[in-house]
């Protein structure tokens, strides 16, 4: 199945990937090749076969729903990793354009 340039742009937008024109052309061909390759799964009769969701057989693995405090050292490391910050607060662009700046 050949994917159109429009479809590629649609997928890239969903995936939040800024692609160059060259990449769009390349991926149109390559994604089509990958989809053709996996197409062979349709040869397999999977009527009444359940999906595999996990392989361990573990059930309901839970932990107590309790807040855990972060020690000062770890907190400092998390803050140090912020790409942009104001003092100790993570700085991001406004989500709603009307409220920006």
């Amino acid at each position: 199945m050949k994917l159109t340039a429009q479809k590629i742009e649609e997928i890239a937008k969903l995936a939040r990937l800024d692609l160059t024109e060259k990449e769009k052309t390349l991926y149109a061909d390559q994604l089509s090749a990958v989809l053709d390759y996996v197409e062979q799964l349709n040869e397999v009769n999977t009527d009444n076969v359940p999906e595999t969701c996990q392989v361990t057989g573990l059930k309901n693995v839970t932990r107590a729903d309790e807040p855990v405090t972060c020690d000062d050292d770890t907190r400092a490391k998390i803050i140090a990793a912020f790409p942009e910050k104001l003092d100790k607060v993570l700085k991001v662009k406004a989500v709603f354009e009307s409220t920006s700046e």
């Binding site: 939040r16 692609l19 390349l26 991926y27 392989v55 361990t56």
Partner: protein, 473 residues
């Protein structure tokens, strides 16, 4: 002792440290010197931790002097850069995390460092585990220590090369669909993919959560058992780890067991299989028979569908997992004006081609209208692959196959052909989608001197048996 310090196995180094033949400081310095020299050609490391390694070595010597030597005290090791290490940069080989220093440490690495293991450096890999040749790293490809014109395999190629070139005594890698076993085979070392759930994945940059595993890459099977003994077991921070008792792998390995070994014909009939590789593995099978193991030809009819299943399930889970890498809370943020562009440009520039390709495939496979046709279908075929294995393990103990249809290939040879590159993992994916333990062990060399690996696959949580037969190869 004729071997240089950096060439020792863990078993030999433990002995030497215990008997004060050398110190952890000397052992670490020997590894660091070779790592720095050889890295110029191999590009196995993204970060070499010279200063912290020497500090850790001094601490290890203190532990030994106080009689507190544990199995990995003072043993120099490397870690795949897609595994988080506190205070040391972890890029995952992607530029989007070029500046990332994790605030926490992966559980398995914490276990090793707590007993005085010495971290030599962080190894190059295909970015976020995506690849079979280590050519998808944004820090350049790794070269094979046996032949610099060849790939080291991937995705844990830097880890494999770092061990094969004796820059450390062992490495910790990750295997989602062959990323430990395939580079281990190409570089001529031992690489164990553990059963899904055997080792904690806490602190691993996730790729495909329903397949990801963490495991050892070592010079010998004995070393593999030693490292497994220290890192295996449940972890409250990884809800997929299983509570089953961890066997004494080293003790189990000392028993020379006889097995019924299945030889799946599908792994020997593949088009494109190199005759030399096939012969080396067939000779090993004959040798096992002569040594008293029972060899049984078997069939796993769904084998050919494992790779297509893999290339639906993995990109789908990838596209979801890699959503966290967006330049917002950590990593490299694109300097642009609006939020959408921060996401799109940080990711567009910070991921290499293959990562973007997989995110695209996964996003498509999971998008409205396609989920049933792709993801759900693949998960059903996955069930059939699992049943294939369950059926054969009713009559045989273990399976033996080649690790790869061919030895290490030339750098660049498959770079532009996506499907050909994917096929480099053709013998790796079935055990991975079924969550089974599998090991690659050196089986011999081709005439041109390239390593060939044999793969042993076992039932879930049967790592002891897998290692036991591997030792007899």
């Amino acid at each position: 002792m004729t071997k240089k310090l950096n060439e020792l196995t863990i078993t030999e180094a433990q002995e030497g440290l215990k008997n004060k033949k050398f110190t952890a400081f000397e052992l670490t310095r020997a590894c660091l010197e070779v790592a720095k020299t050889k890295n110029k050609n191999l590009n196995a490391y993204i970060t070499i931790c010279e200063e912290s390694a020497m500090t850790e070595a001094v601490r290890a010597d203190e532990m030994i002097a106080q009689g507190k030597q544990q199995p990995l005290t003072g043993i120099p090791f490397s870690v795949k850069d897609a595994i988080c290490t506190v205070d040391i940069r972890s890029t995952g080989s992607g530029k989007i995390l070029d500046n990332y220093v994790a605030p926490y440490e992966a559980t398995v690495i914490g276990k090793i460092r707590a007993q005085g293991g010495v971290l030599i450096g962080k190894t190059n890999c295909d970015a976020f585990g995506h690849g079979a040749s280590n050519e998808n790293s944004m820090y350049g490809p790794v070269r094979n220590p046996h032949d610099l014109s060849k790939v080291a395999g991937g995705s844990s190629g830097g880890s494999a090369a770092s061990v094969a070139a004796h820059t450390c005594l062992f490495s910790i890698g990750e295997d989602t669909g062959g990323s430990i076993r395939q580079p281990a085979a190409f570089c001529g070392i031992v690489g164990l993919r553990v059963s899904y759930g055997r080792n904690s994945r806490y602190g691993i940059m996730p790729m495909a959560s329903s397949l990801d595993t963490v495991g050892p890459m070592t010079k010998t099977i004995e070393d593999c058992a030693i490292v497994m003994g220290e890192i295996a077991g449940p972890d409250a921070r990884d809800a997929t780890t299983v509570p089953d008792v961890v066997p004494d792998y080293t003790k189990e390995l000392s028993k020379k067991k006889k097995f019924t070994v299945g030889v799946p014909k599908e792994y020997f009939e593949l088009d494109g299989m190199e005759a030399e590789t096939k012969k080396i593995i067939e000779d090993k099978i004959s040798a096992l028979k002569n040594a008293g193991h029972k060899i049984v030809p078997i069939s796993l009819p769904y084998t050919k569908y494992a790779l297509p299943v893999y290339y639906i399930v993995v990109p789908s889970e990838d596209s979801s997992n890699l959503g966290r890498l967006d330049g917002i809370r950590y990593g490299v943020r694109a300097q642009v004006d609006n939020l959408y562009d921060i996401y799109a440009k940080s990711r567009g520039v910070g991921f290499p081609e293959e990562v973007k390709r997989r995110i695209m495939v996964g996003t498509y496979a999971l998008s409205a209208g396609y989920y049933d046709a792709y993801y759900r279908k693949a998960q059903k075929v996955r069930t059939l692959i699992i049943r294939d294995f369950e059926r054969v393990f009713e009559t045989v103990d273990l399976l033996i196959t080649p690790s790869s249809p061919f030895p290490a290939f030339d750098l660049g040879a498959k770079k532009d052909d996506v499907i050909a590159m994917y096929l480099a993992d053709v013998f790796m994916s079935a055990a991975a989608v079924a969550g089974l333990p599998a090991i690659s062990v050196p089986a011999g060399l081709t005439e041109s001197g390239l390593p060939v690996g044999a793969q042993i696959i076992g039932p879930r949580l049967h790592e002891s048996e897998v290692m036991n037969l591997a030792k007899q190869i």
